[in-house]
Symmetry: C2
């Protein structure tokens, strides 16, 4: 049985973006099955009593931007752009991610959202971005937008979020291999090591 890697992420999270760019190659190298779990990072922060990012001090915020640029460079991605709207509200994008997942197009939708947000500086809450990303992923825009607002989708996003917090999450991205949790893009090396262990 291939191992399952659960990827809890939010479309408003820059470090989730960075990690997402590595997952296709990671799953190919390790033979694991990837489980996409959009969740609402703002609600996770609230549940653990944290402020929204970037938070902290000016020194930390300044370094975090440099760090995001360093990772983009290391990964061979376009230069990192922090959207002017940051910190952003990922709620609509996260719900649409669940719809894209049900349609089998979450990888393409995620690439389309993140590229616009973190290499072009667009706001993930902007309907224009979301419609363009749906279209790019080959999804029917109007019906997907309607489904994103359905109670079933809202409940599923809340369920993912509550479950992540219940299992110990406090940030994004959060990875699980069974109940073995790893937090952050910078733990992907650890994730790969765990996926290879005992195989």
């Amino acid at each position: 049985m291939p191992k399952v890697l659960e990827f809890f992420f939010d479309y408003a999270s820059p470090y989730s973006y960075l990690a997402s760019t590595q997952l296709e190659a990671l799953t190919a190298r390790t033979g694991c099955t990837l489980s996409w779990r959009p969740f609402l990072l703002g609600a996770v922060f609230k549940s653990v009593g944290k402020n929204s990012p970037p938070g902290g001090t000016f020194a930390q915020a300044k370094y975090q931007l440099k760090d995001l640029q360093d990772w983009s460079d290391l990964y061979g991605l376009p230069p990192f752009v922090l959207p002017a709207a940051f910190p952003m509200n990922g709620l609509k994008a996260d719900r649409l991610g669940l719809v894209a997942l049900a349609e089998g197009q979450i990888a393409a939708f995620t690439r389309a959202v993140y590229r616009r947000a973190f290499t072009q500086g667009q706001d993930v809450a902007d309907p224009a971005l979301l419609e363009a990303a749906l279209a790019e992923a080959g999804l029917p825009v109007a019906s997907c937008l309607a489904r994103a607002d359905a109670q079933e989708t809202k409940d599923l996003l809340r369920k993912n979020t509550d479950e992540a917090v219940e299992r110990g999450a406090f940030g994004a991205p959060t990875f699980f291999i069974g109940e073995d949790m790893y937090v952050g893009n910078d733990r992907l090396g650890m994730v790969e090591r765990a996926l290879r262990a005992g195989t």
Copy 2:
């Protein structure tokens, strides 16, 4: 000219411990010169308005301990032990580190302190630990303890700390290659990449 890697660290910091175990091999691989810069992490936190570690929530503290164990395992170190006294006061150890540096024995002193703290669970503020670490490093215990309390040593620790904050530090370990800053044991890969760049 070999590049200089500045290593700002505190003897009370578990992630500084982890990073310190990798520096000998890193400097050998890259040909850089290592500059040991003990500083007082508590004063850094205070200056940027942060609480002392482990801070945050129970979920974060629980994960951080697991993460420290993961890194110890990855690095092939003995199992990580969090001292019962954590968070600890590194002041005396940091001042002694400056004395050991002046005596050319900081690598040995640092290994001796960190092994006792983070693999045996001893308190870095405990005089018995400090005396044993000095002796293990081949240093004269009584005279080193006296020098650690000298105004010159106190001033130097404060200078290192103030300088680090001035240059943007907000945690430990903090690395500088010139004014290119990297924060955290988990950025050592980035540090190595920067040391190799353009050589």
